[in-house]
Amino acid sequence: MTSVPATPAGAPPLLAVESVDVTLGRGWRANQVLSGVDLGIWPGEIVGLVGETGSGKTTLARTVVGLVNPTRGRIVFEGQPISALRRGARRAERRRGHVQLVFQDPLQSLDPDLTVAEIVAEGLRIRGETDGEQIRRRVTAALAKVGLDATVLERTPGQISGGQRQRVSIARALAVEPRLLICDEPVSALDASSRNHILRLLRELRDSLGLPIVVISHDLSSLAGIADRVVVLYRGRIVEDGPVDRVFATPRHPYTALLMASAPTVRDDRPFSAHQLRHGNPGPVPQASPDACVFAARCPFAAGICAAQPSLTPVGERWSVSCHRHEEWGALAQSATDQEGPAHAR
């Protein structure tokens, strides 16, 4: 199995997201999507970024590749603050393609009129390569890396299967030899077997190329097989960030535990059940106050102290959590089992 790559203490991260806020829209439509996000990605690691719809996962990915500007904070890639680049310098950085994003739905993000060969070559042409022979060679090499042979070269996205389409999007990103790969929901549209194929492929790419990969997913369990580290987002804030084995063994944030308890499994071996972690009333819960902990309204363990947003505090080696009651809620959840019983959604 893979292991967490040894990161020398104090080594600078390849990518650093530093106290980033992102607001989308203006005026009355303005919506703060990310708040104070701090995140580092080190070489050779696979980081799983998890959260539900609207938690800001995709916006964070788009901010990192420069498609969205942070309203506060900065993005530093290999020591260079890329979010501060403007106009020509920003475009030049984007053209180099050091950070590649694999978009969510390949059927929508791949041009249906282009052939696979043209799609994969696009990044190389944008970077300014003109040598047709060399482009062809790189395209074939990139497709080989994702396990596709030359037979797909002349097909269009509509003529290949869902799993193959996802491989083509990954090949497109790999063709420009990125330093960091970000995959937005790479497996959510696939069935179990194809999903494992793609996850395996990502792991092999990390092992053979040493490529750090960020995998965005709404499904925590699909990350168990590949991620070294897991970062949990809730309403635009990181609530937990730690080594995947330890987080999954003893989640320290009630939201992480709720995500785990909600995933259907064939075999049940989880520390908590969803009933213990769910607020009595399901559905959208009004936000108590803008300063309160983002999760407080949904949290069955919220107390007076939760009226203030907790900061991300270390609870172990490379493991931090943003919860005032991270030491107490586990016991509370256990004791809540008997009195509540199955709280039916109502």
């Binding site: 709404h218 259907p264 109502r346």
Partner: protein, 349 residues
């Protein structure tokens, strides 16, 4: 809950629907016998000889890869096959009545009042410019001849029954104002509004977040418990199916390869395909493990294959697998398997 939970006795159906057919007396809500469904105007057969039965209050799960015929099977059960598809052979019986060749009007009488359905994408089944409450009330007024006032009151009760908070507020909202989980609850409310005996749910949670998915699954289980609703649940995710269903039917390339009680299938799967599905699905637990895959691709829809359709991908394939049609054998209590190895084991014992 304020809603009337009493079920009409099964024999009431004939008089209620006015079809005038003879009830055969068994208590299955839905029964498929040797169902064959052709696609592309009869050019290929996508569902080949599917038989299954659902009793009142039972949740039966159909699982399989995309293209395995599970969706066509449940569409045939609902009488809403897409254009170009037709029941080629076999029968569909609903509450003891043969409804295979029912007219369009006949099906319309069954829809809503006897069978309800929810699908993967609730937003595309609702009118985007009408309030969701109005759309539910319309169903009640048409199907149950309620007055506006009665329909509104009943709609609010139903919204509450499916776990929508503030039903009064939701009533006047349009689909775009509701989240995916809330829309799916609205769809479930519409599906159960006329107190059907059967709910067909085709991938109803695939597009939802895991936390919301867990809540919707719980709601379905609760509706079964409180109303004795029979549910035909379709998903490609064996983990979801195992968590919810009483019985599991495994589809592969248009055939049922294994069927049985959930415990049997999950603990003692006999068909190599089910075993493979369980291995790939067990990523659902949180231990670090190898990511297993099923080698190869399923056959083309309608491909003509003698013998076992899974054999080309099967690690246990023997020459016998391709020799002739594989019979389905009973490998345990209500546990059917279509595999030569299981057949051999049964004959030996």
């Amino acid at each position: 809950m304020a809603i009337d939970n009493r079920k009409p006795p099964p024999d009431l159906l004939a008089s209620r629907s006015g079809t005038g057919r003879q009830a055969t007396g068994d208590d299955d809500v839905l029964r498929l016998d040797d169902l064959h469904v052709s696609v592309h105007g009869g050019a290929a057969t996508a569902v080949r000889g599917v038989s299954l039965r659902i009793r009142p209050g039972e949740i039966v799960g159909l699982v399989g890869e995309s293209g395995s015929g599970k969706t066509l099977t449940c569409r045939a059960a609902l009488g809403v096959l897409p254009d170009g598809c037709a029941v080629e052979r076999g029968t569909v019986s609903f509450a003891g009545l043969d409804v295979t060749s029912l007219s369009r009007r006949g099906w319309e009488r069954l829809h809503g009042s006897h069978m309800g359905a929810v699908f993967q994408d609730p937003a595309s089944y609702l009118n985007p410019v009408l309030t969701v409450g109005g759309q539910l009330a319309e169903v009640l007024r048409v199907k149950l001849r309620m007055t506006r006032r009665e329909a509104r009151r009943r709609a609010l009760e139903l919204f509450e029954a499916v776990g929508l908070r503030q039903p009064e507020r939701v009533y006047d909202q349009i689909p775009a104002e509701l989240s995916g989980g809330m829309l799916q609850r609205v769809m479930i409310a519409i599906a159960i509004s006329c107190d059907p005996q059967l709910l067909v749910a085709d991938e109803p949670t695939t597009a939802l977040d895991v936390t919301i998915q867990a809540e919707v699954l719980e709601l379905l289980r609760q509706l079964r418990d409180e109303r004795g609703l029979a549910i035909l649940f379709v998903s490609h995710d064996l983990a979801v199916i195992t968590a919810l269903c009483d019985r599991i039917v495994v589809f592969y390339a248009g055939e049922v390869v294994e069927a049985g009680p959930t415990g049997e299938i999950a603990q003692r799967p006999r068909h190599p395909y089910t075993q493979a599905l369980l291995r790939v699905a067990s990523v659902g637990d949180f231990r670090r493990r190898g990511l297993e895959v099923i080698a190869g691709q399923p056959p083309r829809v309608g491909a003509d294959i003698t013998g076992c359709r899974f054999a080309p991908r099967c690690p246990l394939a023997v020459p016998e697998c391709a020799a002739g049609p594989i019979r389905s054998v009973l490998a345990g209590d209500q546990h059917e398997v279509r595999c030569v190895h299981a057949a051999r084991a049964v004959t030996a014992s």
